[in-house]
Subunit: 152 residues, 2 copies
DNA sequence: TACATTTGTATCGCACACGATATAATCTTA
DNA sequence: TAAGATTATATCGTGTGCGATACAAATGTA
């Protein structure tokens, strides 16, 4: 029988494992990304640009659930490293368009091997592929629900 | 059979959603925690102290997967708010023991309603309880696997 | 018992996150 | 079309995370 405070135990909560898993995942990426001299959030921005070539700050923000208060400094750091270019739109002076430099474009090749290596870290005897797929499905739902709850 | 596409897909559908879910969860907690004038990581420390009364910095770190570089400043902020007390151990001058003040002890009552309120806001969502339990189970396994991979 | 090693915290610097606020450009509408 | 509202970025301040390093206390060992 659960007492009233059992809900306050760390292991009974959903949020702590999410927080831990997120940080541990970032740590797994770190050595691979360090070879490219980028961080995990910077890698996420590059994933978008490798796919879409050019995006506004807010378009990037919509996909990563981040806003300009986080993105502007991050993008300036990527620009300082000559990986991207930031340029005000001619048609709407408010928006800043972000695109890759040749150097940033070239990084795509090197980055291509990362996902396979990372997914290896998620492999373990305890988790089957089908379990991982189920997990990913619920996780996606959860993000969707949390996303709608957090901005209302 | 796993091709490059499925690996890429899984990476993007697993690592980024973990990162997003963690941040969104913290955002959901924020208004409840603001009423107690604490942050989410500070709340995690209090969860441990409400259960164990007194813990060393490294014991807290083992449970939260954090080290003194993160914990020391965080604990100092909690001490400044008169929620906890930090005291060097008599038997081993290296270790710092952390415990609750009466004020910090009292916060347990108020905090008890938080998990229930948050879980309640998920009523009627398209995730069943059994799906959530399965999810939680895989998540814990994942944290275990990632934890062992990240510190080697 | 000296001396090297390990352990537990602390400090430093950098890069996020994010609420709050500012600012300029664009859009709405009276 | 002038004035108010909205939109897109940027800035600021605070609080994490975390790798690297420092340092003193405790432990191990010759």
């Amino acid at each position: 029988m659960k007492n009233n405070f059992s809900v306050l135990y760390l292991e009974n909560q959903l949020c702590f494992p999410l927080y831990a898993a997120s940080r541990l995942t970032t740590k797994i990426y770190a050595p691979y990304l360090k070879a490219l001299d980028i961080t995990y959030p910077q890698y996420l921005v590059l994933l978008i640009l490798w796919q879409h070539q050019i995006q506004s700050v807010s378009e990037i923000g919509e996909q990563l659930l981040l806003e300009s208060n986080t993105l502007t400094p991050l993008l300036k750091r990527l620009e300082a490293k000559k990986i991207i270019v930031r340029k005000r739109s001619k048609t709407d002076e408010r928006t800043v368009m972000v695109s890759l430099t040749p150097s940033g474009e070239k990084m795509k090749e090197k980055a291509q091997t990362i996902p396979t290596q990372i997914m290896g870290s998620f492999q373990g005897e305890e988790i089957s592929e089908s379990e991982l797929l189920n997990f990913q499905k619920t996780l996606k739902k959860l993000v969707h629900i949390l996303g709608s709850k957090s901005n209302q």
